[in-house]
Symmetry: C2
Subunit: 480 residues, 2 copies
């Protein structure tokens, strides 16, 4: 039985034609590039259980069509300018069934638009990647990979590299939180940590409390796990409203809260320390776990780090999730959760979901943190972001319609912009993207597509004349 | 409000005592190591909003207790031999609530036992990590990290690094399968790919078909997603019984099948090509997706690669998952799925679950594959594994009780051993681990804890006198 052939087809199409057609398609679709070798006749005979005559006939046909050429001592290579008309076109990839435009679809549409680096800056989820100490990280990664003890593959299984967990535990001291090495689990970024935490404390059908607006990936996670969300009113400066939360806790059987008390995405709000403490105590009294998304923790503009809710955790119910993706090493995908009583459970979930986290990257970050330049990098990064926030606020106040309300967060790199008149942020978004300007429209942060007159803008990029012009143009478009 | 202090505690314990206690605990629990600096008095004042007098009082207390010492121009460092008795002991991490011994707990117990490198060989999920071209991979990783365009962080978002996907698509040609670059999604290893595929095609409560025995992580995934499993009879040599599957398809509303047709874990079975084709056609007729776990695909001992079920996929319903973890780069956590009609959906799930896959590792593997040494490495690896299988089979036939049945797989690195008499593999496992011998007991491969007289043995390590003695001892223990 030849792979790729059903009985019927074999009857109709000669074997050499099928093989030639397959290879032609691989060339046409870009799987095989000009100048690349194709499998030798001998290898092809063995793989497909075909006779040399059949393979030679197929290759001859491709050669005659100008798709491949024989090179002395190299066998056959793909021609420099394959005649595309000769190749069968690749089949399209139809979407599975009908698509309702749910929150996920909306988010993916918006995210897709900002992948272009020319469009991305205002809409991006990251600050400018050039802000990070990539050469130093590359050296650490190189050293870690060269020195890697092969058994680390086993030893760095969840909970993860011990030295990295120790370095992370040390940093908690600077945030006024006591976290043990053994309650930390290393994950593929904070997103995986948050997802695992949510899985650990919920079952399908359960209710979780989220902020309103909420980070879109959070809404997607709730949707994906078959959970129901209760949205808690959230103040643009002070974060989750505790009265509203108390009411929701009375009215619903809430199994977990997933909040971002420090530099909320998209609001930029920061819960004052006493409210964080009250939040932790309110939840502890009801034994409700708090999943604390704290990925912007290191990006504070004040003189001291705001303590996380985790700093007030006495009951082991706060699952504090963070990562290095926003402040040090985007693309390395190293995050963690400090888990209190859920440490073992989440380590097991991690093992079962994705086995382990990239081992060289775990070792590289442990090394980077032990070298001692992290705080210096962070101070520079914070100063840069604070200065860019000032630039952006000035421009928005000048270029956006009067009456626009703009957040002034004490850290992070997002502004939340409320336009004075109801506009359709989704349609504004489409028009802006066409002009090469990205941002995230308010409705992606709401399960019910609220915040239609809101925009999230990223100010974490260099302030250039181009960016200033983009903001001005967006302001004009926003004015109608 | 000071972090880490509730109002009541503040009344009872002086601030300096609290701070000293916290730091003492960090030293006692190993978060701060001998010789490491503790935060400066100035930094500590700022972080905790304490007066210099309070911090100095705390540090003085720690110094008096011998836990830290002042170093000229370095501030305070942890003493070389801190008096452990002076430090408060770290709190224990109680498991969350009561634990029923379900399949997951059983698996974690067994996996925990084999993390010790002295115990691990026979039980390990990987072949000897020293078999892999780690120095070449380290060079590729180093080059990739040094040359990394910061924007790759955005460009390598799901579906993932295009050149890596193209290199993977090229390799499918050697397996007789046509896979387009655009239907591949890069993941954090095959485990993430498999989990995302299962999520993409099921909802909680759905029924999926699995083999019996089945890879334990598969049973865990089914459990975790709230699905129900139908176990299909599976032949130790030829894999899934198609009659049994057909019956199950008639009797149950099966939403997906998750099978491992090539070098099944733990059986080692290989479905013949015509049965794979019949399987794909049977499922296509009912529009049931097949999740094909094919992580051992490259480890065949014959002269040609067995075609995957994906090679017969006409309807785009086969989701073919694999990785480089078992054959090239364990610990790099680079896997993928070739998804047919589910490509977009799984890319979105990946984005929402863990954003992206480690970018330097994606680029490094794309580079490694383009260099052309992969096939040479694989040929050596296959020869090694085949020779070790022969060693192990010989030893087992000599040292295990007469009547023991042993699989003879045509690839991979696992043997499935059925003892002639009913034994309690779990108790055998515990006794063996105590003697420094690991293996995986049969019941971890069954939702209903069957296969009590079965063992999975890894033969992917060097055949040493120690290993020979371990096998002999295990044989004596198995004989009762």
């Amino acid at each position: 039985m030849k792979p790729g052939a059903s009985g019927k087809e074999q009857g109709r199409v000669a074997l050499y034609q099928r093989l030639a057609g397959e290879l032609a398609q691989s060339i046409a679709s870009g799987v095989l590039l000009p100048g690349e070798k194709i499998p030798s006749v001998r290898a092809m005979c063995r793989q497909r259980r075909l006779s040399p005559a059949t393979v030679l006939q197929a290759y001859g046909r491709l050669e005659a069509g100008g798709l491949i050429e024989a090179r002395p001592r190299s066998g056959y290579v793909v021609s420099a300018r394959p005649d595309k008309a000769g190749g069968e076109r690749a089949a399209s990839q139809p979407a599975p069934g009908s698509q309702t435009l749910d929150v996920s679809e909306l988010v993916f549409e918006a995210l897709e638009a900002i992948r272009d680096r020319r469009v991305g800056e205002l809409g991006s989820a990251f600050p400018n990647p050039a802000l990070f100490p990539l050469p130093t990280l590359a050296k650490c990664l190189s050293t870690a990979a060269r020195r890697l003890d092969p058994w680390k593959t086993v030893e760095d299984l969840p909970p993860g590299c011990r030295e990295l967990r120790r370095q992370i535990a040390r940093r908690y001291l600077g945030f006024g939180a006591r976290v043990g090495v053994d309650e930390i689990v290393i994950t593929a970024g904070a997103m995986e940590a948050l997802n695992l935490c949510l899985q650990a404390v919920t079952r399908p059908g359960d209710i979780v409390a989220v902020e309103s607006p909420a980070f879109y990936a959070q809404l997607q996670a709730v949707e994906r796990l078959g959970l129901r969300a209760v949205e808690i009113p959230t103040h643009p400066r002070d974060g989750v409203e505790l009265d509203g939360l108390e009411r929701a806790l009375r009215e619903h059987d809430i199994k977990a809260c997933w909040f971002m008390p420090t530099f909320h995405n998209p609001l930029g709000s920061l819960m004052p320390a006493d409210r964080k403490q009250a939040l932790v105590e309110m939840l502890a009294a009801r034994k409700v776990p708090l999943i604390e998304d704290d990925v912007y923790a290191e990006l504070y503009f004040g003189s001291a780090a705001p303590p996380p809710a985790k700093a007030y955790d006495r009951a082991g119910l706060v699952m504090h999730c963070s990562s290095f993706s926003k402040c040090l090493a985007p693309g390395y995908r190293i995050g963690w959760a400090a888990l209190g009583r859920f440490a073992r459970q989440v380590a097991q979930l991690k093992l079962a979901s994705s086995i382990t986290t990239n081992v060289p990257a775990q070792e590289a970050l442990a090394r980077y943190l032990s070298l001692g330049g992290y705080d210096h990098h962070l101070r520079r990064l914070r100063r840069f972001l604070q200065a860019r926030q000032a630039d952006m606020l000035q421009a928005l106040r000048r270029d956006f319609p009067p009456g626009t309300r703009i957040s002034e967060p004490l850290g992070g790199y997002f502004l939340w912009v409320e336009l004075p008149e109801p506009v359709d942020a989704l349609s504004l978004h489409r028009r802006a993207v066409q002009q090469g300007i990205g941002f995230l429209p308010g409705p992606v942060f709401s399960a019910r597509r609220e915040f239609g007159n809101c925009l999230r803008l990223n100010y974490g990029h260099a302030w250039t004349p181009q960016l200033a012009r983009a903001v001005a143009r967006l302001g004009r478009m926003a004015a109608g």
